[in-house]
């Protein structure tokens, strides 16, 4: 069964995975550019990273090359580390401002 997973993935054409990942990635980019809440922006960044994971897994399965899937594990681990630091920064700001709206952060200006 385990060896069949690449075959299962390959039942869907590769283009579909690429379009799906690109759409997911674009949603993430749009969210980062338009939303004003730090936590939502952060979630959109995670969406972008997961789009990359889908894409890497699909390529990896279609090329029968494990490197792509190993890369995915590294992305997940690094994303977890980033979450830890990012949420700590957001909590620190919430303590000082009682808000996570990025528009309130305008002390640094030209």
């Amino acid at each position: 069964m385990d060896q069949n997973i690449p075959q299962v993935i390959q039942t869907v054409p590769l283009e579909y995975y690429v379009f799906f990942a690109a759409t997911l990635f674009s949603i993430g980019v749009l969210g980062v550019l338009t939303r004003r809440n730090a936590i939502i922006i952060f979630m959109c960044v995670e969406l972008m990273l997961n789009a990359v994971n889908v894409l890497l897994t699909a390529f990896s399965a279609f090329r029968a090359d494990p490197n792509g899937q190993v890369f995915v594990f590294f992305i997940m681990a690094v994303a977890a580390a980033e979450v830890a630091v990012g949420l700590a920064i957001i909590v620190m700001i919430y303590r000082n401002l009682q808000s996570t709206d990025v528009n309130l952060l305008n002390r640094l200006k030209f």
């Binding site: 990359v52 490197n67 792509g68 952060l105």
Partner: protein, 470 residues
């Protein structure tokens, strides 16, 4: 390779020193660690390319040893300026130092990677530590804001870089640099070309963010201003040099094929011109020395990108040498500038040009060192910055980019205006009430400043010491 292992282990060990009540030992220990790593790093010089067998993700060659040397030396010369934290009860000095050591590990991975996974891990190791350090002044809203901006933008552009890597992987089927370049040169499947090009451009965008090149520079002034000055100095030297070296490696080793250049080079040239323009014009209108230095770091990324545009297809040769020399001269001068800025800002609580008024009378040494570093950044002869610019422009002219060089020369004339402003404030203006008292400087710090000024002049008088090493 050895320097990575040593830095990781000693960084972990350094964390345990945080349990001690007194911080007094930390600074000498940190300098010892960095000195040790610097020595160990140069043991690998000229041993040929060393790779772990069957794990060729990191390569130690002369290129990586030279850039690691610059990075660790910069950190070593910068550390004395953290001395105020030693006395500060609130500062978690052991943790700051450990994070600096870990981010150095990331920087070293960036200059010696041989696999896109290591590029990604290097960038993240470097960046995550810097996100924390940018916000290390917890109660200060400006530091909070800098940390959040840096973090959100950094994570966003890491996502873009990763998407580019995924597309390049899809088009070539590998993450290893030489195999990618092989696949780029031998188009087995021409229909995958668009995917490859989009991937390359996304990677270029991700990397331009990390080195602070326009139009992805917008975070730089805000983040540099809000971050505590000591860590700003680290960001504008170590992070920038590592990013440029990584970009150079990517450019030279991965995409040297003529067809790929057709996509990559015009984009890089456009980024380079825009960076020079925005960096220099932006710096002119600033009133704060710290913000001016932020824009100046953008403009220097532009000069370094000229050498990247004019690369000649190998990690050795005039272009790589120019990048190496420029990085060293830039790092040394920038550390001195930020060092003086930190000392003055700590004593006088202000970071604008007027805060420097009369410094030549109260602290002749600080004024002299800042003058030398400003002249070097402006590229005046007899300083390292002059030969840095000379080598970069020479490499570009050799490869036929004369228009680009003329533009860069014009921009560096603009830069003289804003680099002279602090010098005028220090020497020509009289001190007002705020700035009448002398700034306290410890022996350690004056020693480091003198060494930095000496290095700058040495590079300007005897450029041959470093110029031909690669």
């Amino acid at each position: 390779m050895n320097s990575i292992i040593l830095l990781s282990v000693l960084g972990l060990g350094n964390l345990f020193l945080g349990f001690r009540r007194s911080n007094r030992l930390l600074l000498p220990i940190m300098m010892l660690i960095l000195g040790l790593v610097l020595t160990v790093n140069f043991l690998d010089w000229n041993t040929g390319a060393v790779q772990l067998i069957r794990f060729p993700m990191l390569t130690t060659d002369n290129f990586s040893v030279a850039f690691t040397g610059i990075i660790v030396l910069t950190a070593l010369l910068l550390v004395p300026f953290s001395q105020r934290y030693v006395l500060d009860e609130e500062a978690n000095l052991a943790e700051y130092y450990s994070l600096l050591l870990f981010s150095l590990v990331g920087a070293i991975m960036l200059v010696s990677y041989n696999h896109l996974l290591m590029l990604f891990l290097g960038i993240e190791t470097l960046s995550i530590a810097m996100y924390v350090l940018a916000g290390s002044d917890k109660r200060n809203l400006r530091s909070n804001e800098a940390a959040l901006k840096y973090f959100l933008m950094g994570a966003f552009f890491t996502g873009i870089l990763l998407f580019g890597m995924a597309l390049v992987y899809g088009a070539t089927g590998t993450f290893e640099l030489n195999q990618i370049s092989f696949a780029v040169q031998n188009p087995v499947n021409a229909s995958l070309r668009p995917m490859l090009y989009i991937g390359m451009l996304l990677m270029l965008i991700g990397m331009s963010f990390k080195v602070g090149a326009a139009p992805f520079h917008f975070w730089t002034p805000d983040v540099y201003e809000g971050t505590p000055t000591f860590f700003t100095a680290f960001m504008s030297t170590v992070v920038k040099v590592a990013g440029i070296a990584a970009l150079l490696k990517l450019l030279v080793q991965v995409f040297p094929a003529a067809s790929a250049q057709g996509v990559w080079l015009p984009t890089l040239t456009a980024i380079c011109v825009l960076t020079l323009l925005i960096g220099n014009v932006g710096a002119v209108v600033q009133t704060s020395l710290k913000r001016m230095l932020a824009y100046s770091s953008i403009s220097h990324a532009g000069y370094l990108l000229i050498a990247l545009v004019a690369y000649n297809g190998a990690l050795e040769g005039p272009s790589a040498n120019a990048v190496l020399f420029y990085s060293l001269a830039y790092s040394v001068a920038t550390v001195a500038a930020f060092g003086v800025l930190k000392l003055v800002a700590d004593a006088r609580q202000r970071e604008d040009y007027n805060g420097l008024n009369g410094l030549a009378k109260t602290n002749p040494l600080l004024a002299f060192c800042l003058t030398v570093s400003m002249l070097s950044l402006a590229g005046i002869p007899l300083t390292g910055g002059f030969f840095g610019k000379f080598f970069v422009f020479a490499a570009a002219v050799e490869n036929g980019y004369i228009g680009l060089v003329i533009f860069a020369l014009l921009m560096s004339m603009v830069s003289i205006y804003y680099y002279l402003r602090p010098i005028i404030a220090m020497y020509m203006r009289d001190a007002d009430d705020d700035t009448a008292a002398a700034v306290p400087v410890s022996t350690f710090q004056s020693g480091a400043l003198l060494l930095l000024a000496l290095l700058t002049v040495l590079l300007g008088v005897l450029p041959g010491l470093v110029a031909g090493v690669l």
